[in-house]
Amino acid sequence: MAEIYIDGKAYQADPGQNLLAVCLSLGIDLPYFCWHPAMGSVGSCCQCAVKQFTDEKDQKGKIVMACMTPADEGTRISVADAQAEDLRRGVIEWLMTNHPHDCPVCEEGGECHLQDMTVMTGHLYRRDRFPKRTFRNQDLGPFLGHEMNRCITCYRCVRFYNDYAGGVDLQAQAIASHVYFGRLTDGALESPFSGNLVEVCPTGVFTDKTFSRRYTRKWDLMTAPSVCVHCAVGCNTQPGARYGELRRIMNRYNDQVNSYFLCDRGRFGYGLVNSEARICRVLRRGGDGVEPARAEEAVRALADRVRARRVLGIGSPRASLEANFLLRELVGPGRFFAGIAEADQRLAALTLSILRDGPVPAATRSRIEDADCVLVLGEDVTNTAPRVALSLRQATLNRAREAAAHAMVQPWKRTAVAQAAGGQRSPLFVLSPDVCALDDVAAQVFRGEPQTIARIGFAIAHRLAEEAPVVEGLTRAESELSESIAEALAGSARPLVVSGTGCGSPEVLQAAANLAWSLTVAERDPALWLALPECDSMGLAMLDAPPLEAAFTALEQGEADTLVVLENDLYRRLGEARVDAALAATRDFFLLDHLQHATAEKARWLLPVATFAETDATLVSAEGRAQRAYKVLPPGGEAREAWRWLGEIAAAARGRSEDTTFDAVTARLAAALPDFGPIAAAAPESHADKVPSRIPRATPRYSGRTAMDAQRDVKEQPPPRDPDSPFVFSMEGGAEATPGGLAPWYWVPSWSSNEALSRFQQEIPGPLRESRPGVRLIEPAPGAARFFTEPPPPFEPRPGSWLVLPLHHCLGGEEQSIHSEPIAQRAPEPYLAVGRTAADRLGLAEGQPTELRIGGEAHVLAVRVHPALPAGTAGLPGDLPGLAGIALPDWGEIRPLPAVPES
């Protein structure tokens, strides 16, 4: 630590930081715009001017920008200096010359960094009497509004979008006082991280369109800490609700998972909560269709079947750990099934085993960003685990930071680092079947089918560790590639191997494991990141239940006659015929879910359950991190949390009531299954008695409480009770003393925008105050690795047949988020991707209708030519609606159909 002096007072500061970050960490109010904790300093806005003195004798000092000045030992600055204050006031006055002052109609109003800074500098009266410049705004697609007149030209948007996230379609255009941030033409922003512009922009230029449509001020939202459910990364979110609707999702900081950013799927994919397709009532299907039923009837009916021991339970990788556990408890461990196809279940189990039984740990976000060499094996990370791809991009800058350090440039000077490095990047290798959004930062890319990718992975492992198995018969190119990657990995200190279940290949996962393990033999310090498909895929894998096919077999063999399905659409898991046959064998069929879907249409009993926003839940991320999410709003209508339904059914079945609070369920789970022992620690603060007082979900300024329900009853209703968490559905409580990890919102006096986050951190950009970022349930086993011993044979194309590989889409390629209209708009239509040679051989043109025969079914799809796809393969976006039941990869036949004449 360095001792520095701010306005004559001595402080301890991190000498590796700049003075602005230090001041903010110390709780000193110093205004800024262009600096961002994740994007560093560029010195453009000149808002954080302070006076620096050379020593204690220096009375004159000179103005410096705090963000561009290191906190070296003995640094002396004055924040309160009159000249510095005057310049800071002047900067705001300049910024305000063109700002429209439309705060009352601006979505940013009330959580606007520009408002905060304006008040902080004391600029009050407009002295500029000249006309303001105006811009034409653009239609940037369904996610983001664009109001350029509000722009204060801090460059944060392009620095995030281009420099940080690798986007290419947003530019700073023109110069002088008409710098314009937009696309060359109107159109949706292409980057899957575009939504972060809402938070990165210090004012209301980029706003959340989905929020604008159902707008309310920040202070009128009820918020609570939540966890994203749209992939297995486990990003922390801060959803906000009003009038029983979810209105938006903002980022919630977790230094080990998502830090400052979310992907667009996670931010805009919340539409299911407000969806018309919600199941709101208990329904029973009779001869004449569905009719409402009473909850007690449903509970009793299921309890009866449970007592008769004729029930199989089907869990779900998108349900909470608690709900899965309670279902398992209800039907008995031997009658609980994982609710995913056997192939998927095997991949998930393999992933778990690699992380639990091997010597290499799963990487946290900071470990990913710290990597000095990355190998991506087969996984389309940008589409299966988007937030991780953003971190991988940052890892490639480590070499630039090293080069910059040689040139005496501090790592937080983002543009200077880039200049000093002249485009050098840490090596990142991408081996994938199709083009990958990380290709632009890759040292080398390789396109091949999973089998070949796995073989190369095995070969690299063997080069790094003799004891890893040899791969015979590599082509020269494959051999050279494996050599150059092995060399880069061997030359690195903190290598990272990234793979996952995305290409549906156990061999690829095994190759990734061998690779990571071989690096321990080579005495490097490797880490692994393995993608899984859904928010609790890992939790479900840890429950170690047999796959869906086993349940179907049991049903068909008459071992049971009743099915309870938890938050699962079985038609997404297996082919239609298979599911139909199994359901036909059931006498009774209960479904607990929140949205109508194909399976719901077959269920005899429908029990409406809470969505992620209405339930407490523990989810285990692909990293093996258990995280607690809290309900943001109470479930509406007859919906209840899935775990609550299951608790009640269990109580009815056993004829006695139990402690059904969430904490009790979690404790029982931890006691029953030792792997989950630490999960209570995922949210140690959740016990109401351990926090100083209850935590309000509503801000102190929450308005309309006494009027919101006046059309029903003019008397103010008591707020809904919440015995399951330390939160209350009201304004009462002590938000100020809340531990950072439980903060329902980031807001402190003078800082009403989310930039207030710094007050909830121990230091910038460190962990949150008094909080654990979840708890890791999986740590590597000590001892040497037992390598996978069987590399796959070379890929052999089949004449007349194509190996159809799964393709993934961040937007649209996920079951739940597609219920958001804006996401659906951005999702591609189902298509069949073919390589260049396949297109030529089959005579297929872009857009041409084609028949794909696969898994015993025929599908008609439009063709898209993906020139990079390896010979003998095709690609299918198997997560898109309508294609979800197709097991991939699998061999299929492709037959061109005559083009549809244009109408």
Partner: protein, 444 residues
């Protein structure tokens, strides 16, 4: 030996010398000498000893700049030499004279500079509007290449140099060397954070020296005739000659190569022929638009890098703009500040949004809509847009003419506000500036 080495071969009555003519007139002798007899260090030492200072305006010692380039076997490579030929300073046309008048001279300077710093690639970053220069340079480069003076293994010395001519898309800020490098790399022409300085990490992160055209044109003569000779050309501490220019209401606007340190009065009276009949002298911007006004009492100061500093101004490019007594100083400032506001790169707030504030205030004053508080606002801006408050020197430079105008021509500003009109415009033919017109320069 000539006393005007830079312009000796320039003859406005004919076109520029081709390669043969240039060589007959002694051209490329310095290159031959350097590549055959000297090593890079010797060239660098000669330039250091010559007291040559950068002619782009900042006056940084050229030899010192070159010596910052890392050398040796493990030094980063390739290294680059970039010629700043983006002459966009209002009133400045000295580099154009050199480029159009004697293109092989700058090429010879580039070869020597690149040799000294070990650069294997050089760029001439040329102002977009200099079409004639582009044509003449392209032809000269082709000639030099064909003659083996550029390219691989120049004159059998083993020294390689690729020289590229790059025409700017046209922005004043590209004259700032790091913005120039960004433009050359194809990104926004915004100045870079320093450090790293270009000598350590410049173009594409490699060691790079950016030199002005006039600076490099001096190098062949230093190498050919020696540092001592070069220093002796000068009448001041800074070595060599300087191309001074003058524009405004003078009899013979133009540019002249004179010993460094020639007094302003001598340049204006003897070479520019004094004020145009009927016009009186009120002030002069000595080195382009971004330098402070000097007035009558400063006219005997020598025009060199150090002498103008105590008077509150600087040499800049050495190309003077005169303010006469029939031209409105507010209008002149407005013209300049509009230019600077328009040419702000838009990166930092004070410059991007402060300069338009200044320009619009001046606009109001000039239009007779000024208010008393405008004077305070203008003064406040000259303070707030000072050095250290902005990302680069653009806005502080823009404040130099304004702050000195507010000092020397304050009464003009106040009268605009008081009378709610521009007195110069009101009585265009008769009106002369306040106080007694300074008859500083002979009217012939």
């Amino acid at each position: 030996m000539t006393e005007t080495p830079l312009t000796a071969r320039i003859d406005p009555t004919r076109g520029p010398l081709g390669l043969a003519g240039y060589q007959r007139a002694g051209g490329y002798r310095a290159v031959r000498k350097a590549l055959k007899e000297l090593d890079p260090q010797a060239v660098l030492d000669a330039v250091k000893a010559s007291s040559l200072r950068g002619r782009g305006g900042a006056g940084f010692p050229t030899g010192t700049k070159w010596s910052f380039v890392p050398r040796g076997d493990d030094a980063p490579a390739p290294r680059y030499l970039v010629v700043n030929a983006d002459e966009m300073e209002p009133g400045s046309f000295k580099d154009r004279l050199l480029l159009e008048g004697d293109p092989h001279q700058i090429i010879e300077g580039v070869i020597l500079g690149a040799f000294a710093i070990g650069a294997e690639v050089a760029y001439i970053f040329l102002r977009g509007e200099y079409r004639a220069s582009a044509r003449i340079l392209a032809q000269a480069i082709a000639e030099a290449k064909a003659a083996g003076l550029l390219g691989r293994d120049i004159l059998g010395s083993g020294f390689d140099l690729e020289l590229h001519l790059h025409r700017s898309a046209g922005r004043y800020i590209c004259g700032e060397e790091t913005a120039l490098l960004n433009a050359l790399e194809g990104t926004r022409a915004v100045p870079r954070t320093k450090p790293p300085f270009p000598q350590a990490a410049g173009l594409w992160g490699k060691p790079t020296v950016v030199n002005n055209v006039e600076t490099l044109c001096n190098v062949p003569h230093i190498v050919a005739h020696g540092a001592r000779w070069f220093r002796d050309l000068s009448r001041s501490e800074d070595g060599g000659t300087k191309i001074y220019g003058a524009s405004g209401r003078i009899r013979r606007p133009g540019a002249w190569e004179l010993p460094m340190g020639t007094p302003i009065r001598e340049i204006l009276e003897e070479h520019a022929g004094g004020m145009h009949p009927g016009y009186g002298f009120r002030g002069v911007l000595p080195g382009g638009a971004s330098t402070d006004f000097l007035v009558e009492r400063h006219l005997d100061l020598p025009m060199d890098f150090d002498s103008l500093i105590p008077a509150g101004s600087r040499l800049g490019t050495g190309t003077m703009i005169l303010l006469d007594d029939r031209t409105c100083p507010v209008g002149l400032c407005l013209n300049l500040e509009r230019f600077f506001a328009q040419e702000s790169c838009g990166w930092c707030t004070p410059c991007r949004d402060g300069l338009p504030f200044v320009a619009r205030t001046l606009e109001a004053i000039e239009a007779g809509e000024g208010r008393e508080e405008d004077m305070r606002m203008l003064e406040r801006h000259t303070r707030l847009l000072g050095m250290g408050h902005t990302f680069c020197a653009h806005a502080p430079g823009a404040m130099e003419p304004l702050q000195s105008a507010l000092e020397y021509f304050r009464e003009d500003f106040e009268r605009h506000i008081r009378e709610r009109r521009c007195p110069f415009r009101a009585a265009r033919s008769q009106y002369r500036g306040p106080k007694a017109t300074v008859r500083a320069l002979a009217n012939g």
